[in-house]
């Protein structure tokens, strides 16, 4: 049995027939081809799959695609605006905020959310914000610096 869902992802509307048990991360990657979000631990621990549902980040391995029906989604592909990288993305480049790149999409989506709510976070706030996300390269120092860089370069 499938149900029809309609979502708006990064400003584009998509309608698909899905099984209710389909997880949001697989919907984004396999149905819509948006492979920027990574499917990681599958247990809501690592945060590589973080996307925004409406205005809030969520671990998309722990949400059903059906639950997003009628809502807006934003993925890492939607950070860039008019061909310009988001300051968070630029910060990751400037500060070497990624090594293997696996945790990067989730880190950046959470960072964008943090900076939208706390434009000038201190280091403790940044570390708390990403505390539900794992960088298995252990590159946390540079991720924190990248987010600080983004806070200092707001546009």
């Amino acid at each position: 049995m499938t149900i029809r869902i309609t979502v708006r992802v990064n400003g584009t509307e998509y309608a698909r027939d899905v099984e209710p048990r389909l997880l949001l991360i697989h919907f984004l990657r396999d149905e819509l081809g948006l492979t920027g979000s990574h499917w990681g631990c599958d247990t809501s621990n690592c945060g590589a799959c973080v996307v925004w549902l409406d205005a809030k980040p969520v671990k998309s391995c722990t949400l059903l695609a059906a639950m997003a029906d009628g809502h807006q989604l934003r993925t890492v592909e939607g950070l860039e605006r008019d061909g310009r990288l988001d300051p968070v993305q630029q910060g990751f480049i400037e500060c070497h905020g990624l090594q293997c790149g696996f945790c990067t999409p989730g880190m950046m989506m959470t960072a964008r959310w943090l900076l939208d709510h706390h434009p000038d976070p201190d280091e403790a706030q940044i570390r708390e914000a990403i505390s539900g996300q794992v960088c298995r390269c252990t590159g946390y120092e540079n991720i924190v610096r990248a987010i600080q860089w983004a806070a200092e370069h707001k546009t």
């Binding site: 049995m1 149900i3 099984e19 209710p20 048990r21 997880l23 599958d42 247990t43 809501s44 621990n45 945060g47 973080v50 809030k56 980040p57 969520v58 671990k59 722990t62 949400l63 059903l64 059906a66 639950m67 029906d69 959470t110 708390e128 914000a129 505390s131 539900g132 996300q133």
Partner: protein
């Protein structure tokens, strides 16, 4: 790859609609989904129908009762809502203490207060906090509603008194003057389940403990409470000796199981130490409360 079993999905448009959908056997409520969906992925839960209540804004609130005697928390309030609520913190810092150490910031945006209580995980933090505060659960039923003390809400691990066709709607926490509260948890790493945790709620009057609530997490305490220690505290003067004696009683009367988080004697040691710390902070806060 973890994939849930086949399931049907319905979105509730009102509490009444949710109740009628929930009358079907093998039906589960999904709100934040951060306990249920992982269990479905592991096939530990295989409901036939999911009822999504995320649209029921009438269940998402944190407010005072009209007479100001109770803090009312809607079942659909998110962990982040309770953590950030200045109203809740004004009356019960135990909830801010506990919410700060529930999972991680992203999970707290979705996981709900009602979902935590209904999951009835023995290691879940809010059950002990609400038990310590002698809160009451309001359960909507096809005929209206019924209220159950949180201390009678859990039948055992992963089992509550919420029956088929019913829905936990709200938790009410009685507010008393001269009350302070605190929650102390030890876990292996940030965001993990408790090895042990203790919540304390103390009401002081004329430099005496008028009422004490002690909730224990993850150590096999019946209904998450340390009743014998509460009995010991009532009527005594707050202070280090009293707190340590109560802590020792709490440690004796719980039933921790040895597991990958630690052996039994270590957990009893934690219960004693955390009970002392929680009582100390609760008493300080009670002295500074109106």
């Amino acid at each position: 790859m973890q994939v849930p079993s086949h399931v049907e999905y319905e979105r509730a448009t009102s509490v009444e609609h949710a109740l009628s959908l929930l009358s079907r056997p093998e039906t589960r409520v999904v709100a934040g989904g951060h306990s249920l969906i992982p269990m479905m992925k592991l096939r530990l839960a295989q409901p036939e129908l999911l009822v999504d209540i995320n649209g029921l804004a009438e269940l998402a609130f944190i407010t005072l009762s009209s007479d100001g005697d109770e803090l009312r928390i809607g079942a659909l309030a998110r962990h982040a809502d309770l953590l950030d609520s200045d109203l809740a913190a004004r009356h019960f810092l135990i909830f801010r203490d506990a919410e700060r150490v529930v999972a991680d910031p992203i999970v707290r945006l979705w996981g709900t207060v009602g979902g935590s209580l209904c999951q009835a995980d023995p290691s879940e933090d809010l059950s002990a906090a609400f038990a310590a505060a002698r809160a009451t659960a309001v359960i909507r039923t096809p005929d209206g509603q019924r209220t159950v003390p949180v201390r009678e809400f859990h039948r055992g691990p992963y089992e509550t008194v919420v029956g088929r066709g019913e829905l936990l709607a709200e938790i009410r926490v009685p507010i008393n003057n001269g009350t302070g509260s605190a929650y102390e948890k030890v876990s292996r790493r940030v965001g993990d389940w408790s090895i042990a945790a203790v919540g304390a709620v103390l009401t002081l009057e004329h430099k005496e403990i008028k009422e004490a609530g002690l909730g224990l997490t993850a150590v096999g305490a019946e209904h998450f409470v340390a009743e014998q220690a509460e009995d010991y505290l009532r009527g005594r003067a707050p202070g280090e000796d009293t707190f340590k004696a109560a802590a020792s009683i709490a440690a004796q009367h719980c039933h921790p199981a040895a597991d990958q988080r630690g052996p039994e004697d270590y957990k009893r040691h934690l219960v004693a130490e955390l009970t002392t710390r929680a009582l100390r902070r609760a008493a300080e806060r009670a002295e500074n409360s109106p």
